[in-house]
């Protein structure tokens, strides 16, 4: 007799794409607002972006229930840190916390594909990209989610930054200005929406710079 296998999976994929771009003194984090399951759209207005500290913002695609749980754990840990150290966590510190939090569930992973964007201690933009179990690296730009294979090659073409592994070292931030980076993000999502069924409806853009945080929205195709 063949073994009975469970028909129920604890995971689901709610789709969507996330992008982050680091600049010399700014960081742009963007995600679409469509939440789907299979071929159905659950809502057109769901934010995948979460502000963890004054200087770090996380965008996550994948299974949004796991994303919500992950955001709660990170906020709670950040609150404890603030009580114990009397200051906010820096972006690189939050990056490592996220990595460890993901790895603690190595044998029952968070189905979340994250990009963390923010400003480092020197005020320069930084972007960290993750896999589902916590391996991370600091990069100049990144895309995650269902549209990532469509978006990344285009960002590589426009923004290709020299690898941080090269010796003598070269800076990893893009030479684009803040407005140019925001325009690039809008272009990228418009294109991804054309060819990825899970990406669309509306684009939410968060811009972090020395003067604080700013949000912009743009309509995308709803089909």
């Amino acid at each position: 007799m063949t073994k009975q296998h469970a028909n129920w999976s604890p995971y689901d994929n709610n789709g969507g794409s996330c992008v982050a771009i680091a600049g010399a003194d700014y960081c742009v984090i963007a995600a679409d607002t469509r939440m789907s399951t299979g071929y159905n759209i659950l809502t057109r207005d769901y934010s995948k972006i979460s502000q963890l500290t004054d200087k770090s913002v996380m965008a996550s695609s994948g299974f949004q229930a796991d994303v919500k749980a992950l955001q709660k754990v990170l906020s709670a840990r950040h609150l404890i840190y603030q009580h114990q150290h009397n200051k906010q966590m820096s972006c690189p510190a939050m990056a490592q916390l996220l990595s460890n939090t993901l790895y603690y569930k190595r044998f029952f992973p968070y189905y979340a594909f994250n990009v963390l964007g923010g400003l480092d201690n020197e005020g320069k933009g930084c972007v960290f990209t993750y896999d589902a179990v916590g391996s991370y690296e600091r990069v100049g730009y990144s895309a995650q989610g269902s549209g990532s294979t469509l978006i990344m090659p285009f960002l590589d073409n426009q923004l290709k930054s020299p690898s941080p592994l090269l010796l003598p070292a070269k800076d990893a931030v893009t030479p684009l200005s803040e407005t140019e980076a925001v325009d690039l993000v809008k272009t990228v999502f418009a294109s991804a929406t054309e060819r990825d069924i899970y990406t669309g409806d509306k684009l939410e853009i968060v811009i972090l710079n020395a003067s604080g945080i700013r949000r912009e929205y743009m309509d995308l195709r709803r089909d």
């Binding site: 603690y104 044998f107 189905y111 179990v133 690296e137 690898s163 592994l165 010796l167």
Partner: protein
């Protein structure tokens, strides 16, 4: 099953007693396990979903002057290149390096953990930990998670009181002492170049060039390896990064394009 969770201890609990404010979140974390009858099957599916980055080429060898360590920087998820700039040589402390092959998160997390354990050893014993000791710490942890699906193929290279040391440690629980290792999907190609060019009495520059060439040739023939070839040297004063070269550029450096003689040149047609 009782898992070795010493790697997950968060240190505030060791210093101060738990209080209500901090509560559960500061307790020694343990690995959540799914409530499933078929743990193996669940893990197989979870691994498919996670698809850890595997393709890689790393190598390390001992020679007269110390240890030479080199690696590529490509991470692939199935057929998609998820990154061309992954740090596969992990700096555990100023005189010890670890290489990454297999699951990226597994290697990163356990190497970071090993660095913490090595530092604690230094503080507790007032002397640096040996390469033998550090590799044993890692091997014991990986052995305790044997069969759980961790994927780690690493080399621990360092310089301690007994001189240069090199160990290969993997997630099956294996630990081997040796003088020449290469790990990853590109390792057969790297071994070919490394073994034929190796001599114990190489100079530092010659050894670095041998390591660089071995990585380059592996990236040339193995689709899962590429990016930047990094070369590190470990000597009596600790490790030093010697070079980081894009392998695409290395190709034309080793095999420059010679312009061929042109017999007849095409000229642009004018008008109709």
């Amino acid at each position: 099953m009782k898992l070795d969770t010493t790697g997950l201890e968060s240190f505030p609990t060791l210093l101060a007693p738990q209080n209500d404010v901090v509560g559960d979140l500061s307790a020694a974390p343990s690995f959540d396990l799914p409530n499933s009858n078929d743990f193996d099957g669940f893990l197989k599916e979870a691994i498919q979903m996670v698809k850890p980055a595997k393709g890689t080429t790393t190598l390390a060898f001992i020679f007269k002057e110390g240890v030479m360590v080199a690696a590529d920087s490509r991470a692939s998820m199935g057929g998609y290149i998820s990154s061309q700039s992954v740090k596969k040589i992990i700096e555990i402390n100023p005189y010890m390096l670890g290489t990454m092959a297999g699951g990226a998160a597994d290697c990163q997390f356990w190497h970071r953990n090993l660095g913490i354990k090595c530092r604690l050893h230094e503080l507790a014993n007032k002397r640096r930990i040996s390469v033998t000791g550090a590799s044993k710490l890692l091997a014991n942890i990986l052995y305790s998670y044997r069969g759980m699906g961790l994927s780690v193929g690493t080399m621990i290279a360092g310089w301690d009181e007994t001189g240069p040391g090199l160990y290969y440690v993997d997630s099956e629980g294996g630990r081997l002492k040796g003088t020449r290792f290469s790990v990853g999907s590109g390792s057969p190609y790297a071994y070919g170049v490394l073994d034929s060019g190796y001599r114990y009495d190489l100079s530092v520059e010659e050894a670095a060039e041998l390591a660089r060439r071995a990585i380059y040739h592996a990236t040339f023939r193995d689709g899962a390896s590429g990016g930047v070839a990094s070369v590190y040297y470990v000597g009596p004063n600790g490790w030093k990064k010697l070079s980081g070269d894009d392998v695409g550029e290395l190709h034309y450096h080793y095999y420059p394009v010679t312009p061929s003689t042109v017999e007849q040149e095409m000229v642009e047609a004018t008008g109709a």
